[in-house]
Symmetry: C2
Amino acid sequence: MIEISSDVIRGYNDTMILYILRNGPSYGYEISKSIKSMTEGKYVIKETTLYSAFTRMEKNGYVESFSGAEDRRTYYRITEAGKKFYEEKCEEWELTKEVVEKFIAKNEESVLLNEE
Amino acid sequence: MIEISSDVIRGYNDTMILYILRNGPSYGYEISKSIKSMTEGKYVIKETTLYSAFTRMEKNGYVESFSGAEDRRTYYRITEAGKKFYEEKCEEWELTKEVVEKFIAKNEESVLLNEE
DNA sequence: AGATGTACTACGACAGACGTTGCAATGCCA
DNA sequence: TGGCATTGCAACGTCTGTCGTAGTACATCT
């Protein structure tokens, strides 16, 4: 069973969270459920990772927190800076993907190309 | 100018190095040149990152080092364990890509889908 | 009453990346 | 011949995001 290494996702947890918040405010537990269902259970964010991402992003001005009126939850809303950051991350991802894929062998093809 | 964040590549530096070593033994400086040219300068691995990757991978048994007969370089050769590790990383990458891409908006399309 | 789910916080450890520095040999150009 | 760039590597310490562990508290279900 192959698992996603957190080292890759590292730095993209924020992006995932912001993606969800672009559809409206949400809170920790709901976001973690969203991520799990969107990835069909392939990726489940750790609670500590999630909440530390909130504090980091709030400090950076990418999200704002507010208390729910009827419940004890802490909601988060994406800011303009957060949207901008998200879009930059999307562009960065395209570049990263392009770079990494040059080093990925797809099913045994062309092992001996010896490019340089 | 968008730059690749090291947080994404984190954990894939080893994979890149192993990819190159699959074509035969090499040494630090040559590998860094290869990575740079293969990515058309889009990614340049830091020296410290490279050499610390060598020691880590040697400790893990993914590479073996030996001294060049004619020069003062330290060469590295990929081991069977290294090849196996590399192939696992390739599979992991496919999965990671699939997961991350669910959270990437490609050029303003479908911002309001609200999937859940 | 106890288990499970919801919702969040605090603390500390770990590992990979990276900045900085240092050093030594070589090549080259002026 | 002097100086500078390039090659090639090692040691040190710092930073940051992730994650393990633990704890709190309330709600609901059995």
